[in-house]
């Protein structure tokens, strides 16, 4: 029960205090789930990002369900998902019911500009920190560079970059196995 409550509260916090959705939530999700709670490790969170990106639906919702499921099965997934979704749902209802147009307010616009600039920096730091643990071989570097170039310069869909990375990993493994057999 304690873990369910922790899952709910953790994702409620993430859902309330991150804006713009998707990748903007990754630094907070990593900090809360890996560093603070130890629910998963750096490799685990990277796998979770890859899977969540490859599946349809809202990215951060997929991440929450994935981690909740890992920690506490179906109830855990529901608790994490509910915590993440609730602030997004409630904030829209409050605005529509009581506040009217807030998106033209200069203070809100300013706050949002500040948050956007901060999330660019936060995601960059997260990428570098995750990269340090993952980019340990030449092949890993090559895959990362190909994925970045394909997505940014060739506008490839991120799913293809992830699939291609998986294929390269698999072929390298098969090639290594064959070589082992030949050397025997």
């Amino acid at each position: 029960m304690k873990e369910l409550w922790q899952l709910f509260i953790t994702f409620l916090k993430i859902g309330t205090l991150t804006f713009g959705g998707g990748y903007a939530m990754i630094p907070a999700i990593r900090r809360e789930t890996v560093t603070k709670r130890g629910w998963t490790d750096e490799e685990g969170i990277t796998d979770c990002i890859a899977v969540s990106q490859s599946l349809p639906g809202a990215f951060a919702v997929n991440v929450a369900i994935f981690i909740g499921k890992k920690i506490k099965g179906i109830p855990g997934a529901v608790a994490a998902c509910f915590g993440l979704v609730f602030p997004a749902y409630l904030s829209i209802l409050i605005i529509l019911l009581f506040l009217g147009t807030v998106e033209d307010n200069v203070y809100i616009k300013g706050a949002f500009e500040g948050i956007k600039a901060a999330s660019v920096a936060l995601i960059l730091v997260t990428t570098v920190q995750l990269g340090r643990g993952i980019l340990k071989t030449k092949t890993a570097w090559v895959i990362a560079v190909i994925s970045f170039v394909a997505i940014v310069l060739l506008s490839a869909n991120a799913i293809y970059a992830i699939l291609a990375g998986g294929l390269i990993g698999y072929f390298q493994y098969q090639y290594g196995k064959r070589k082992e057999v030949e050397n025997r």
Binding site: G15, G20, R31, D47, A58, L84, K109, K116, A117, A121
Partner: protein, 177 residues
């Protein structure tokens, strides 16, 4: 009946949109236009609101459309609809992952997927920088200052992302407007 239609519409949107929030917006527009006759102008308000409110953009958008069409029950039905495919699919995939995680082939696949994900995250930095610290090739002064300060605090002192986000929001409201 209205609620079921909303739930099914957003279930379909949740099921067929790859690439998360922003990739879902065109589908949400089509659906909302069909169902509620939402205009392009109203939709651009929805997008602006989704960005400045907390949480995933797709959830904000589903709640908005559902509310416009059928009040709070509509907002709830649309939100559940858009989340449900994620619940089902993540379950199936994570069962599969747990089962094969220890196999050598799966480890090899993951060892290729992880670096690709690092490249993907870096590309997200580039896309998000555009329209925030960059407009075209031009640097936006104040956002660049915010970027550098947060980069320094988060990179050097491992500052808490949530705390930094909140501070950047408050400072932005006071300084950038």
């Amino acid at each position: 009946m209205i609620l079921i239609r909303l739930l099914l519409l957003f279930f379909r949107i949740g099921l067929f949109s790859f690439g998360g929030g922003y990739a879902m917006l065109p589908l949400i527009y089509q659906g909302a236009n069909e169902l509620t006759g939402m205009t392009a102008e109203e939709f651009s308000r929805l997008v602006a609101l989704s960005q400045v409110t907390p949480g995933p953009v797709a959830i904000n958008a589903a709640t908005y459309v559902g509310y416009q069409y059928a009040g709070i029950p509509g907002a709830t039905a649309a939100t559940i609809g858009v989340v449900l495919p994620s619940v089902l699919l993540v379950f199936i995939v994570s069962l599969f992952l747990v089962k094969f995680r220890e196999s050598d082939a799966m480890k090899a696949v993951l060892s290729g997927i992880r670096p690709a994900t690092v490249g993907l995250l870096l590309s997200a930095v580039v896309f998000l920088a555009q329209g925030s610290i960059l407009t075209g090739m031009q640097l936006n002064l104040l956002p660049v200052v915010f970027f550098l300060v947060v980069l320094f605090v988060a990179g050097k002192f491992n500052g808490d992302p949530i705390l930094l986000t909140v501070v950047a929001g408050v400072a932005g409201a006071l300084v950038i407007r």
